[in-house]
Symmetry: D2
Subunit: 151 residues, 4 copies
């Protein structure tokens, strides 16, 4: 099972802690964490997954594997810039959006367009299709539930 975590490359310590917990719980549930591979939300979630013994995949916008944050196990340097956002979404059976700015919004929109479950943690409120969650536990639980429903 591959679960995506999307969010900005900079964040407050409060949100960092939320992302860390999301990553940890993804790993606890034996799922693979997929993200954009950079800093901020992506790094904190990757660190959480790594600390829990999980596997992390970073789908990078640039050309260089070393762009990945230190908690990425498998680096996919796409050289596609923002177009890599779509690959993050496609490579995830569900995505958990943690806060986020326009980049995250474009990922949410593409996920909804592709019919992927989107769990929102304090993120954009653009429509009823976004499944809201209040805690990391709730977010990961709902993501897994949605994936299981579909398969």
């Amino acid at each position: 099972m591959q679960i995506g975590v999307i969010g900005a490359s900079t964040c407050t310590s409060e949100v960092a802690s939320l992302a860390y917990d999301v990553g940890k719980l993804i790993a606890h549930n034996s799922a693979i964490l997929v993200c954009g591979g950079l800093g901020g939300i992506m790094e904190h979630a990757s660190r959480g997954a790594r600390d829990a013994g999980g596997l992390t995949v970073g789908i990078l916008p640039g050309f260089d594997m070393t762009d990945a944050n230190p908690y990425i196990d498998i680096a996919i340097p796409t050289g596609l810039s923002h177009a890599r956002n779509i690959l993050v979404v496609r490579s995830s059976m569900a995505v958990i959006a943690v806060q986020g700015s326009y980049g995250t919004l474009s990922e949410i929109a593409i996920a909804l367009k592709l019919g992927k479950p989107v769990i929102g943690l304090n993120t954009w409120d653009i429509g009823p299709e976004i499944i809201e969650a209040k805690t990391a536990e709730e977010a990961v639980k709902k993501a897994i539930l949605m994936i299981q429903k579909r398969t």
Copy 2:
């Protein structure tokens, strides 16, 4: 000058007429119309530009030039599926969003992320960066003004 028109591949006749006028006015202003090359808003805008003697570019999601609507002069079949949305935005100095659903929202978000002017005609209201317009005339005028300001 290259101006993008983004919007859904199906639309009501009222919005179709709005898209047609946007295309026509882009051509009247000697600008090149860039769009996703398919039906709906894209087709009506292309038809408007063509009727006004303008040039139209369709950046297609699929593999085949013949996917383009009949009013496209230059077809770019990307084979990139939804990732082509980003190319539509990058190839436009400003984008005019006409209504639209999640696909359009992802294009608006990516345009704002890339710092491109977005003119909204009856579209998503996701932030103050979207420049609202009430008519086709106002939309094209504002798009050109924003482009001229930047160059």
Copy 3:
């Protein structure tokens, strides 16, 4: 009709003249020239097409329309780096390869993979599918013939 010209971004003056003639003849035949939009072969071919009153499309690897050589009418900045090579091939009904290095070889290979006619002017000799030409005239003539055969 859209015809692609592929080749390196630097070239000798002799090959430059060949590329120029190819571009000119594409325009004389009312075809649109598609290329990678940068210097060398791409620029000389674009200049030839422009001098003959033709239309030129540059599918750029980078993010900026201003990366295009001065003879490009329509700039498509993909931000996809080398992946844009595939878009050059897809957007061409036939490609004329003028000399070229590994970048050009990857384009030739992808064109053959996609079943597109490849006309070779002093280029890689990797298989019998490449249609050899000795002059710009012969190359453009064969490209148009191959396109007409298929449609």
Copy 4:
């Protein structure tokens, strides 16, 4: 360490066995196998790596994770069609080419263009930059040596 294996999606049983050994040896050397995720060379190499307890990444051309062969641990459905070849190359510190047709040739050309080490096992002979190998052992050994030299 991420090592790519490239080759056609159909192959003879003799070459299949070669690909299997390459995959197995990549895993024995604790490297991650990166490939295009489909059948033929890609599947046999993945099976070899899996049998040796290794980790496999499949960068798929299509939209669906289930396109991956049964030995892929991490599926990246890009929806980019042939453009995904470039991602396979970028995600590999060295690539081992096993036989292969035009698709493989395009990957070899792009790898050489990007300056990545290419080890050839009975593959295209397009230039001295391709490092020839006669056996799976020699190929994997040379790939690892080239990667270590660079880091």
